[in-house]
Amino acid sequence: MTVSRRLPLLLIPATLFLLVIYVWPSLGLFRNAFNEVGPTGAMVEAWSLATWRATFHDSFTFELTLNSLWLSSVSTLIALCMAYPVSLFLFRTDSRFRGLLAVVAIMPMLVSGVVRVFGWLAILGDRGLVNTTLQSLGLISTPLKLVFNWTGVTIGLAESIMPYMILALLAGFGRLDRTLEEAARSLGASPFRTFRRVTLPLSLPAIALAAGLGFVLSMSAYITPKLLGGGRVFVLATEIFEQATTNTNWPVAAVLAIYTLVLLLALLVVSNLVARRLQR
């Protein structure tokens, strides 16, 4: 018998740690959202809804929400189009390099976000790979604006969420049964038709889960919109950071953070519901 009655005592340090350093600060964040900012700009302890009212009367909050939702949708869609073939490939391949290929597929996860942003600057910048190639081919005369705008942020974000989506897709591909595809093929379906009528429908729950994850990750991403946006891209994440550190307007930062969290929870619930419905 290895099970000791005193075993649960081992949980005490971790529980205490998380209560003090995670639960308590989270409650503090919630508390801060009801404080006010005084005329001097200093925070005043209060239980008021003034910050909430001001934040949601501001049309900028609405704009930030639309920006975040749009950016996350497009990035998730692009990432899905890239992650799906790679996951399916990894799921099916019998290559002896499968392990290595899996590592390479999730490589962006293992490389610092700042490093990848730097790589995209070198690819998409005014004098980067894409522009110099197009110019030397004579296709364009002035460089295309590909970074420090929404284009750059979307591309960088899609790349950074892709590895997480690959893992989610791989985990969700369990129901894909090779024999069903073979049956469709032997009954005369073309490879494309087999994919559209058998493979794709069977993998829809996995797609819903991966898309939900990608969306949540892009909504809360900060480094990529900040650095590839070059100060011209405003989303909820960048605004929360600005309000908290540059403006030290903590009540507003807290309100925006809670608002973002509620949006994310709603999105997660929806994507889980969709995934469950598709599973049937």
């Binding site: 340090p13 890239m82 073939p85």
Partner: protein, 262 residues
């Protein structure tokens, strides 16, 4: 019909090119002889590595990051492994609830954790200090260690422990002489990954780091915001090589796909 098929393999190959592109480009740029980001570089040199060797702020930040990551790793294992042991081996009421509670911080975006910690640490004067950074990073690494070690410990064969117990070993002795030695590869992999997680943690650090105590990713963000020359590319190459070395160790021990399996 086995394997992946030609069409699918070609699609996948294309995506692999895209995945690798930013990394390959950074590596080439690190050896650039130019003063700015120009791709392909007009010439190659080691000047940016030399610059890096003499760049005091980045070196100070690197040193602080290594210190933080080392302390974070030790403390996370000290807090997380006992909890994982209890979760993997214990049968008690509320076990599943606790297991969910322990991994909950991983679900919260680090942007929000960072903000919560900034508000919490400011009155305590913990911002821009080593303890503050360590505690902040542990909100990410402790849940990670608990989750990874619970799986690793639960997958160990029960009968060896049972045998030791029947032969008269006390429960504590079984843990020390049987369970932990069997779990050593998992422990090392877990330690390596928490070190990397802490070393690479950017958003929480951006919230709680200050000019006096700045970690490497924070310094890198500030550098890229201010100017774009190949210095960060040279630093990136150093970091990529170091990360690859750690990943290879982990791959050897447990397999990365299983280790990061979310």
């Amino acid at each position: 019909m086995t394997g992946a098929g030609r069409v699918l393999s070609s699609f996948a190959a294309l995506v692999y090119v895209l995945i690798l592109a930013p990394i390959v480009v950074v590596v080439m740029l690190a050896f650039s002889a130019d003063n700015f980001i120009l791709f392909p570089p007009s010439g190659y040199s080691l000047r940016w590595f030399q610059q890096l060797a003499g760049h005091a702020p980045l070196q100070a930040a690197l040193w602080l990051s290594v210190q933080v990551a080392a302390v974070v790793t030790l403390l996370s294992l000290a807090v997380g492994v006992p909890a994982a042991l209890a979760l993997a081996k214990g049968r008690f009421a509320g076990r599943d609830t606790l297991a969910n509670f322990f991994v909950a911080p991983l679900l919260l975006p680090t942007l929000i954790t960072g903000l919560a910690l900034l508000l919490f640490f400011s009155p305590l004067k913990l911002t821009a200090t080593l303890p503050g950074l360590v505690l902040g990073h542990m909100t990410v690494t402790v849940p990670f260690v608990i989750r990874m070690m619970t799986t690793a410990l639960a997958n160990l064969p029960d009968d060896i422990e049972a045998a030791a117990a029947t032969l008269g070993a006390t429960p504590w002795r079984v843990v020390r002489r049987v369970t932990l030695p069997l779990a050593t590869p998992g422990l090392i992999a877990c330690a390596c990954l928490s070190f990397l997680l802490s070393f690479d943690e950017t958003v929480i650090s951006l919230f709680i780091a200050g000019p006096r105590a700045s970690t490497l990713p924070v310094e890198m963000v500030r550098y890229v915001e201010g100017r774009t020359d190949p210095l960060i590319a040279a630093l990136s190459v150093v970091l990529i090589v170091a990360t690859l070395a750690v990943v290879l160790v982990v791959e050897r021990l447990v397999g990365v796909a299983r280790a990061v399996g979310k």
